[in-house]
Every structure is written in C-alpha cells, then in structure tokens.
Amino acid sequence: MPSKRKWECRDLGEPNEFLRMRITHKGHAIHLDQCAYLQKVVEHCGMLNAKSASTPLPAGYYAAKNTEPVDADLRSRFQMVIGSLLYLMLGTRPDIDFAVTHLSRHAANPSQDHLNKALYICRYLIGTSTYSLVYNGGSSAGLIACTDSDWGSDPTSCLLQTGFYLKLADGLISWTSRAQKTIAYSSTEAEYMALSDCTRQVTWIRSLLGELGYKLKAIPICSDNQGSIFMASNTVTEPCSKHIDIHYHGICESVAKGNVELFFIDGAENPTDLLTKNLPREKFAKFRAQLGLQFPSGSI
C-alpha cells in the first residue's frame, strides 16, 4: 500500500466550532461557549421550564453518603445528568466545577437528594446559559495561577478540597477542583498540597509552551496562606511538616529554579474559593466575574 495515500478531508475554513465548543471572534477577543450543548442538556433533563437558581448549589451544602441500597433507575438517571454536566464543566464552565465534582463522588450510589441537587445545577445553568469564556487578545497579562484549599468544612469527609486555576489573557484556561488523596493535619498543610498540585500543572504548561519555543519567566502563583508559601520557599524540615509526602516537596525545586514565584493574596479576595466550596450568592457572583466568564452583552 502506498504510504503517501491521501485522505479525504473537509476544509472547514475559519472554524466556528471545535469539540462542540463554539468559537466566536469579537474584535481582539475570542469567546468560547457550549450554549447549544447546554440547551440540549437542560432539555434532556426535563428542566426547560424550571426556575433558574443563582448559584450551582446552595451555600454550605455538602452531599451526605447514601446508606440505602442502590436504586438502579435512579443511578442511571443521575449518572446521565452528571455526565452531561461534567462535559460542560470541562469545556467552558469552571463555575460549576466544584458542584459537579462534589456530586459525582456519589455516582455509584446516589440518593434522591443527590439527583435533586444535580438538577439544581441545571437550574443554575438555565439562568446563565449564554455565558461564555472570554479571552482578551489585547491583554498584556501573562500566565497567572491561583490556588486555594478548604480544610475541615466538609462534615461528610475528612479529606480536604483543592482548587486551582491558570489564567491567560483575562480568562481561565485550566481549572481543577478535587478532593485530596492525603489527609492534612492543618490548613497550612492543605494549602501546601494545593500549591504543590498547582505547580505540577504550571510545570506542564511551561514545558508545553517551551516546546513551542516560548521562554517564560517565573509564573506567579497566588495563595492566601503565608505558612505554605514559607514552607515552599524555605527547604527546612519543620517538625510539623516531617510527615508530608515527598512528592509534595517538588514545589520547593520549582521555586528554587525560578519556574514559579509565590505571592500572597487576601483570602477574602481569592477567586479560587469558588472551586473549593459552595459559596453564597454575592461572593460567588463576584468571584465568577474574575474567571473571565461573561454574559455577552446584547448578542446571541
């Protein structure tokens, strides 16, 4: 068979869609959204006429484990809803990251309450269905990362929650909200692990851009915990940090090499908070605005 066989390709010209993500150029800005898919999800969940909610989940809500036996019908419906929401979250909706991943932990045995809460997320999406991620092409702000963790608020689990994101051109390009695998003894430790996870992601982006020929200066990472910044910047083993797994200390190397630079920001001004817990309405809206998620003015 000839190795240089030609393929039948279709030229899509200037793309307006990729992986079901709509791409719109407006002046110097680029908008990404999944409005059409979102509409389909809402319709599929039977929520077309539902009232909208102002946050993805009620403030302070934590999903308790279901102790009842598995209900197969409920489970498959729950998994369908959560699966669709996960896809939206991964594509263009960092604002529902915490809510979706928090609920998805119960995918093996969900309760009716879990399903109702998944539909609550749908109701939130109804009110924000035209939001898109906006990146400002004229921006001079480089890559910036932000981390936060939540330690001990969740009564249903003793694991801490980690959240971090990476921002470029005023919009989020990467976001993560997940429960840590290791138990932390203090909030400093929790923040240290969050910083460390974030650094790994930053290192990956650095090497990716490096391969494309970009030589980056130290990438700033913001944290609202002085203790963890101190630990990462000073490689002395304190008695209280002896037990921390060795792989978390990778961050010290990144700091020493100048790949990342750590900054302190006020906890009340840390937008990453939104990736670690269910916030009340005002706070949520304030932080969401800083993610680059925007309500398009007068369009669509």
Binding site: H25, Y135, S207, L208
Partner: protein, 170 residues
C-alpha cells in the same frame, strides 16, 4: 439517517469477538486535552494567528494494522463460490478495538513526513518548524483538526500536501 434524509451504512467489525494478545494488544490512543485546546486558541488570539479547521472523513479506515486479523465475509456480501474463505484486514475498520490507535499511528507517521513533530508534553499537538518559514501548530482530536500559524500561505501549502482528492466543501 442524516439530517438531509440520505441514509448511511457502514461496514463494522465485531470488535467484541477479538481476543486480547492475539487480535489486539494496545488499544489506548492519545487525544488532546481540553485545556490545551483553550490554551492554543488563546495563544493564537494573542499572537493574532490565522486559524483554520479540517476534518478527515471516515478516519478509522485509514489506520494501518500491526496485527494479523481475519474476518468472516459480511453476511449477504460473500464472494459467490468462495463463501468459505475469510478476509484478511490490512486497514482498520470501525468496531475494531485498536482502530483509534491504528489511526493515530498513521496520522503521526504522515504528519512526520510533512515535517511535523508531536510534542512530548501533549500528544494532541503537532508542531511544524522549519528554517525560513513560519511555524504551524496543529491541534488534533481524532478526526477534527485545527491549524494555527502566523502565515496563512504556509498552512494552505500544508493542507494541499495533506491531500484532498474531492473538492473541498466549505
């Protein structure tokens, strides 16, 4: 059924009857991360690059197989008089467990011939860099691709080399 009423049929292999170690070995194939797609789109916007999309038709059929696989003749389409013979597959079919990997390998090989390199940190990104011309970045998700470059002419030349036999529908 397609949206315009045309009907579509496709020969599909019964992948479920394949035996591991015999008919297939590795089945995982890399795809691009969502975050990389966003990063590249933002980069292209910041740098004011030209972006274009491409989509490969019936992708999996281009994948070359490493394994020796035989298939029964499809029901109702057996060659008259030779009904007892089986078919040897040279290229992948939809339904085969290794179809996606076979396609990815073929793609990787072909793009290398064109001068692209697959990034070490992201298997879904292909980078074209030659002295004297502009760079091109290819973002590839199975059969969907985006190409970004500061220079439209370079992308167009590459697209022409990738070869499109039928007239492009836009």
């Amino acid at each position: 059924m397609k949206s315009d009423g045309r009907k579509k049929a496709r020969l599909v292999a019964k992948g479920f009857s394949q035996v591991e170690g015999l008919d297939f070995d590795q089945v995982f194939s890399p795809v691009v991360h969502f975050e990389t797609v966003r990063l590249m789109l933002v980069l292209a916007t910041l740098e004011n690059w030209y972006i274009t999309g491409l989509d490969v038709q019936s992708t999996y059929l281009y994948g070359k197989l490493d394994e020796e696989i035989y298939m029964e003749q499809p029901e109702g389409f057996a060659v008259p008089g030779q009904e007892r013979k089986v078919l040897r597959l040279w290229c992948a079919l939809y339904g085969l467990k290794q179809a996606s990997l076979a396609w990815w390998r073929t793609l990787d090989e072909s793009l290398k011939e064109l001068g692209f390199e697959c990034l070490k940190s992201e298997a879904g990104i292909f980078f074209y860099k030659k002295k004297g011309t502009n760079i091109v970045i290819g973002i590839i998700y199975v059969d969907d691709a985006l190409f970004c470059s500061p220079n439209k002419a370079v992308v167009d030349a590459i697209k022409a080399q990738m070869g499109v036999q039928r007239p492009w529908r836009t």
